[in-house]
Symmetry: C2
Subunit: 433 residues, 2 copies
């Protein structure tokens, strides 16, 4: 006998978790589509040279490779998008808006809470540098979290060219990677150590202090942008960043988004070395410590390793598994493990056709309905229904058939009522609302 | 520069194909759920010993393996279900009804039209031997094809125990694998060669002729079953098979299924060596040569290699990629490559907020809407809209804003109309119906 088990670092999804996961994916699909993003799919495996091409040291190390193959498992959906865009952009045309919901794999050593397989849920607009696509990206994130049922969330926005404008003015633009690396540690190590780290990177004390003052800016988007003007005045890139963000905040106001959900945070340093324009991070107000559950930004040239065509783009990625963990912690997940709402219990096996006919009537009315397969003891059938999380059970034996009415049991309250056959669908539709 | 290309035997799905594929998966999910099947997911990789455990020589050969790993990529969703059921059945309880829509991989040498990665779309009921689950399986297949928009399809049903009953009576039950193998070739090689092949397997001429007479039975299910009675009379297994099929045909009649879509075909031999009870194959009447697009059956003991618990089951698998190819051939696929219905063209970049506000109003009314990101020439924007397959374009420049009305262009007929802002949503909803 072979012991049934998953490979280390991998996991099964049982119905309750999988139903929640499918719900998230469905909502994401619906919102992405409502903006005209189209689905694509790419293979699980890509040539190693393609995957390595765009990767950093860290992703290379984490890549799920096989020593006997010249291909490996994709570790994200961005590299496959770059390869896909380079290969097909002639057919697709621009602007090209795609979403991609698919698993990715990491070869890192498995540890508690870290898995080697997880689902990504990305959307991107390729082939345009229009700021309206940046603004739309923000709107998609906003609508996505609203559609998922969250009321309290904050999308923090930043723009790479604000800090670059400052560094430009200070004459240390070439140090931007070192500055970002130091700034990223600010919440953990504090001002003094960040200054020390910048000093090690040969950034003078005055510049370092200026960068820290900049990163400390607080207030409404308008207030912050007015202060940023002083920091970057005269730098074309800095002024472009300010103009883009001004347009972003003005547009979402006219478009009617809840402005309190969008904040300008010039201290965001993460991702700034990868992105070249607007940057997004999304936090749940009730669980800020879980980190960003939807992040993204604008990049200049997605597919430079695979084509000479310049393909700027902007997009974001929903962290499905992190969000699922958050929703579990916030008690937002249903405990049901069945998508059906009604269980028709079975009393009399000789009436199978009638049970099936009833189930078809309910399904045709949009009520997902299961028929218990065998005439087991009614208590056993109720236990099954309660464990799975059905809302209602219909009891139908000889008495019910001859009276032309059904016993409908509410499995939450355990109350039951006699319902006339002609009333049954209306009764259940009202009850299930 | 790295040449952008997929690994040999793998392919990309561009938006038009992927939208059709997503539609099929969504319909399958909806139908499976309406019967109370729950989603699960399992890892792409499983330990090789688990995958090899249940495989035949053929699947072993086709398995996508790596010489440096003790795990490999799953080649179907049945072995992972067996492993999953053995591992979790205590938590899940029985009956357990699951669906699983996920990619699988085959290591076979790539050739034209054969891919190494494809999507499977399975549903199964585990842990009950009730014939009602067999009947429900048939009903699910029926509803699935109806929901997919097919009117003319035939589900061919057979039962392993009919032929077994005959072999039982003939005293050659132990030759059943050889009989099935020979019968499977009947359409290709004809009666005489099938008899010759059975002779090689030491099956006497009289028995071989009897088997062929049996496989030739034609008529309505009732007529065939009456004739089968003569062939298997006295064999308990044969009579059980007849009783199960009688109940199946009686039940679907009462339940109101279109009986003309369900045929009894005792010549089906494929899958009979794997399945132990009812068997299903589904053919599109307009494209019978493409083969079965949804097949399945009942099995006695799913997880015998991984647990001592007896887990009988019944289920079927939708051949997603084959069905997609068939729908393309039948002209049933839409040619659109965008899920959005309306494109708002952009004339005046300074009115971005108003364009975005309009798009939000349309989305809130359930109309998927894209905003063109830049004020390019209107002809270019129309070309974009036509190429992608949008239904309608809204033109909104200075004149339209001041008049409070929009120019709505039907991209199919190329007619355009002025529509008052207050009427716009009702107008589009009616037009898109």
């Amino acid at each position: 006998m072979i012991k049934p088990r998953t490979v280390r670092g991998f996991r099964d999804y049982l119905p309750d978790t999988m139903m929640a996961r499918e719900h998230l994916m469905e909502v994401a699909r619906r919102v992405y589509r409502s903006y005209g993003f189209s689905p694509i799919d790419t293979p699980a495996l890509e040539y190693t040279e393609i995957l390595l091409g765009k990767g950093s040291d860290e992703t290379d190390k984490q890549m799920f490779q096989f020593s006997d193959r010249d291909y490996a498992m994709r570790f994200d959906l961005t590299v496959p998008l770059a390869r896909f865009a380079a290969q097909h952009i002639g057919v697709l045309g621009t602007p090209f808006k795609r979403y991609h919901i698919a698993p990715v794999w990491r070869g890192e050593r498995p540890q508690r809470g870290r898995y080697r397989e997880f689902m990504q849920c990305d959307f991107d607009t390729i082939g345009t540098d229009a700021n309206s696509s940046d603004i739309e990206t923000l709107m998609v994130i906003h609508d996505l979290f609203e559609a998922l049922g969250f009321e309290k969330f904050t999308i923090r926005v930043n723009h790479r060219q604000l800090l670059n404008g400052l560094l430009d003015k200070l004459g240390i633009l070439e140090k931007s990677t070192a500055v970002l690396r130091a700034l990223d540690k600010l919440p953990k190590i504090g001002h003094d150590k960040v200054v020390a780290e910048m000093r090690d990177a040969e950034i003078d004390e005055v510049s370092a202090q200026k960068v820290l003052q900049f990163a400390d800016l607080q207030g409404s988007p308008d207030e912050i942008l007015r202060q940023v003007e002083g920091f970057v005045a005269g730098s074309e890139r800095g002024e472009q960043g300010i103009a883009n963000l001004r347009e972003l905040f003005a547009t979402i106001k006219i478009a009617g988004l809840d402005e309190s959900r969008v904040a300008l945070d010039v201290s965001i340093a993460r991702g700034l070395d990868y992105y070249t324009g607007t940057i997004y991070e999304t936090f749940l107000d009730d669980l800020p410590n879980i980190g960003s559950v939807c992040s993204g930004g604008r990049y200049d040239n997605l597919a430079e390793l695979y084509t000479k065509e310049q393909l700027p783009g902007v997009g974001a990625s929903l962290g499905l598994d992190r969000l699922l963990a958050a929703m579990e912690e916030l008690g937002l997940l249903k405990s049901s493990s069945t998508p059906a709402q009604v269980l028709i219990t079975m009393f009399d096996a000789s009436r199978l056709g009638e049970y099936m006919a009833l189930s078809r009537r309910l399904r045709a009315a949009g009520i997902a309905t299961e028929v218990y397969p065998q005439p087991k003891k009614i208590l056993k059938q109720f236990q099954y229904a309660e464990r799975k999380g059905f809302g209602y059970a219909i009891v139908a034996g000889g008495d019910e058939f001859s009276a032309g009415e059904w016993t409908v049991k509410n499995l939450g309250s355990r109350n039951q009522e006699q319902v006339d056959d002609a009333e049954l669908i209306a009764y259940l539709q009202a009850a299930l609302k």
